[in-house]
């Protein structure tokens, strides 16, 4: 059963009319004003830059997203790989690559969209297989991941421009309708445009016009080989690097003006450098925050097509911006990694069934570990070629009980139901969401994002007619009453704080479990000691301090806090802890809890006592696995998923649930 068959859904949404109206882009006609952006390299290809089956399967899904324009991910244009910024990035430096690109352009055209190929020379972030990267000037890296710089010579500039033009020619030969170059976040073009990295004294450095010379020559060369095929350039509306000598916002717009003068056919406005000290797309940036940059670009260049989508995940907001004339095309990618059906659902008035991007940046965290990108919300991403991840009709429909309505249990229930199984979910608590619902309320970044996960599961359960029995504890007695009613039990009962890791509390009521505090079952006193500086302890400590004005101290046994936090979000927690002035004691050993506080031995071996009205247990968790043994002789199949197997995080919980649901 498909969620698109949901009878509760409304029809086409009139508020999105502008987004879905056909538009003209030069000689090309698009069916709507949505451009699939090249936001991420998949890292699905071969190390030599050739395509894989995995990439083709993924591209077929992208082609089917319903976007009017689809930008294929950036390909590096040089045979040496100085422009290669990602471990498994695809290459377009040789004619032998053309058949692979032909296939991709074919998928996009078959789906009725305009095909754009991005040419990506990673510049400062390039040379991944080499011992260096190319830049206009020697400005060392600020992130250890990247390669030491070499200054590009004038001769190399000419060669690089020719390589871009050749790459554009290949893309058109492969059937693409347009090409795109990118001056985003420290790639080669950005390093020429920015004062931060361009300190040249020749005609390619100095004034904005000189720094923009490389861009203008690039545009001219590509347009020369492309004829009337359009060229897109991605340009920063703000680098977020100005305090360290990068371009001011005004200079960014001067560069846009320059690009327009050289006849680019679309400017895609972006925000931020990789190494900027400020967020641009994370969960802590509110949706719509950067819209003003697009509006400024459109005001400055009314005759140039402007595309925009940074931290603008909602089609309703995008339609409103287009209506107001702030930009012409909504450029979106990450939200469609989370839900490739986003456009179709929006068009059909089923936004409540959209699996929203929650900005966890799992995708990027993995890319910088040289791994293929995946998505917290979308377990199928990157596995489109893999039969084990296909939702196929069940060979023999079964009656399945899912115990626990957290993300893992609900994902499993939804997947199994879509395959035709009969599913009932049993939840001990009063509502869907499990521990996530409690912690989401305490999230300082954007609790709405995490709460949307819970909303999605609730809506999907309703849409798919999955019975969820809340306030129902499943124990042996309850199971005996339902004996032989189910074929399969899925244990998705989550995890709990491992009390054995802590000394016994000698003062009744002093020690509380993190989840009890998160869900509001107990209230913290004025002085709080949080035992555990992982994501649970940090989330609660930050919320207690900022939202409830409590005096909070964290005690952590490991050397550092945030050990289990997503790499791309770790810095956010550590910065909050500093900003909020929450004292942390790392490398500590808890000695006693009671007598009005916590006694511990610090990293230097000194005993300390922290007075507290509430002590929060947020140490490592252990899985709730009791039911595995109890159900073994009561039901045909018993499976587990999520934290009930190994306590980890939201991504693993969702992916476990999906995989199990897809194979039962």
């Amino acid at each position: 059963m498909s969620e698109n068959a949901n009878p509760m859904a409304a029809g086409p949404n009139p508020a999105l009319r502008r987004l879905f109206e056909p538009a003209q882009w030069g000689k090309l006609k698009t069916r709507n004003r949505i451009k699939y952006g090249s936001c991420c390299i998949s890292n699905y290809n071969n190390r030599d830059g050739t395509h894989t089956i995995r990439e083709f399967a993924r591209t077929q899904v992208i082609a089917g997203t319903g976007c009017g324009i689809i930008t294929n991910q950036g390909a590096y244009p040089d045979p040496l790989g100085e422009g290669k910024g990602y471990f498994r990035q695809v290459a377009i430096h040789d004619d032998s690559a053309i058949p692979g690109f032909e296939k991709i352009a074919g998928y996009i055209h078959e789906a009725g969209a305009i095909a754009v190929q991005q040419i990506l020379h990673a510049g400062r972030y390039g040379g991944i297989d080499l011992g260096y990267c190319l830049q206009p000037s020697i400005v060392p890296q600020t992130l250890p991941h990247f390669r030491p710089p070499r200054e590009i010579t004038k001769e190399q500039i000419k060669v690089t421009i020719r390589q871009h033009a050749d790459a554009a020619r290949r893309a058109l030969r492969a059937g693409f309708d347009a090409t795109e170059i990118t001056s985003f976040m420290g790639y080669l073009l950005a390093t020429f445009n920015s004062k931060f990295t361009n300190r040249r004294t020749d005609e390619y450095g100095g004034s904005v016009r000189n720094r923009g010379r490389f861009m203008c020559e690039l545009i001219d060369a590509i347009k020369q080989v492309q004829g009337d095929a359009p060229l897109v350039v991605r340009l920063n509306g703000n680098e977020l690097m100005d305090q360290w000598g990068g371009n001011t916002e005004d200079e960014c717009f001067e560069l846009m003006q320059l690009a327009a003068e050289h006849g680019v056919d679309m400017i895609s406005v972006t925000v931020g450098w990789q190494e900027a000290p400020e967020s641009s797309i994370g969960r802590d940036v509110s949706p719509g925050y950067w819209n003003r940059l697009a509006a400024r670009a459109k005001q400055l260049l009314p005759n140039t097509i402007i595309a925009f989508g940074n931290r603008l995940p909602d089609p309703r907001m995008a339609a409103e911006c287009i209506e107001k004339g702030e930009f012409d095309f909504w450029e979106v990618c990450r939200p469609m990694l989370a839900d490739p059906e986003l456009v179709h659902k929006a068009q059909a008035g089923k936004m409540h069934l959209v699996r929203r991007c929650i900005g966890s940046l799992n995708c990027l965290s993995r890319l910088f570990r040289d791994l293929p990108y995946t998505c917290t919300r979308n377990p199928e991403l990157g596995h489109e070629y893999d039969p084990a991840y296909q939702i196929t009709p069940a060979v023999m429909p079964k009656k399945i009980m899912v115990i626990g309505a957290g993300p893992s249990g609900m994902e499993c229930a939804i997947t199994a139901k879509r395959r035709g199984h009969d599913v009932v979910v049993f939840e001990r608590g009063p509502a869907i969401g499990g521990a996530l619902a409690g912690y989401a309320k305490n999230d300082l970044a954007n609790s709405d994002d995490l709460l949307s996960v819970v909303d999605y599961y609730r809506n999907m359960a309703e849409a798919l007619n999955i019975e969820v029995r809340c306030n129902t504890t499943l124990d042996l007695k309850a199971m005996r009453s339902m004996l032989h009613q189910f074929d399969v039990a899925v244990i998705a009962t989550g995890a709990r704080v491992d009390g054995l890791l802590l000394p016994e509390c000698t003062q009744p009521g002093l020690l509380v479990d993190a989840i009890e505090l998160a869900t509001g079952k107990v209230e913290a006193g004025a002085r709080v000691v949080v035992l555990g500086g992982g994501k649970i302890g940090l989330t609660l400590a930050e919320s207690l301090k900022r939202n409830h004005g409590r005096e909070v101290t964290i005690v952590e046994t490991e050397k550092r806090i945030a050990g289990d936090v997503m790499p791309s979000f770790k810095w956010r927690h550590t910065a909050w802890i500093e900003e909020l002035g929450i004292p942390t004691h790392t490398g500590a050993k808890i000695l006693a809890i009671g007598e009005g506080g916590v006694k511990f031995r610090d990293a230097q071996g000194q005993e300390q006592f922290l007075p507290a009205d509430t002590v929060v247990a947020a140490v490592a968790r252990r899985p709730n696995q009791e039911l595995f043994h109890e159900l073994e002789w009561m039901i045909d199949e018993v499976h587990g998923c999520g934290d009930a197997l190994v306590p980890r995080g939201l991504t693993q919980a969702i992916h476990d649930g999906f995989r199990l649901g897809a194979r039962i």
Binding site: P140, Q141, E278, F368, S568, W571, R572, E578, A603
Partner: protein, 159 residues
């Protein structure tokens, strides 16, 4: 820009006072030495001669001036001044560039949470770090723990 001058108590200080606080921070070699000793476990893995440098923004922009250096010598971490003549061959693995007031903000927490404040300065843009050797060399020479303690994952940080 996010303030490089973190302590709120200093918000009302006059420019002259801020300059004086900055100068005092840069010149307090014994204070820095004591800090490094307290955090010995972070520096013990550095190879003999392993060093990081700190310069004022104006010095970095000029490409010349003096550089405060934390260097591992004889089993301890020493603090010393060296000449700075630009990125090339400045003899340190990592160079911290401090906006006016940033080092004073770190220095103000010398006996409390100076490295935490340094981390905050990096995040707020009060300090910028340049990596002057390859990642493999940073790992080989024992800088990983120190840099991780400043919140610098050995990876990109697209956010």
């Amino acid at each position: 820009m996010a303030s490089a001058l973190a302590p709120a108590s200093e918000a009302l200080a006059t420019p002259a006072v801020l300059v004086a606080q900055d100068a005092a921070a840069w010149d307090d070699l014994p204070g820095w030495r004591a800090l490094l000793q307290r955090h010995e476990s972070l520096f013990a893995p550095w190879v003999e001669g392993g060093a990081i440098g700190l310069v004022e923004r104006a010095v970095a922009d000029a490409g010349a001036g003096r550089m405060l250096v934390w260097v591992r010598m004889g089993g301890a971490t020493q603090v010393q001044w060296r000449d700075y003549r630009g990125f090339a061959d400045c003899g340190v693995a990592v160079l911290f560039v401090a906006q006016p007031g940033a080092l004073a903000a770190v220095h103000a927490r010398l006996h409390d949470n100076a490295l935490g404040q340094m981390k905050l300065q990096l995040r707020q843009g009060g300090m910028l770090l340049y990596v002057l050797v390859a990642k493999a060399q940073l790992l080989d020479e024992g800088f990983e723990d120190f840099l991780e303690s400043l919140g610098l994952a050995f990876m990109g940080a697209c956010r």
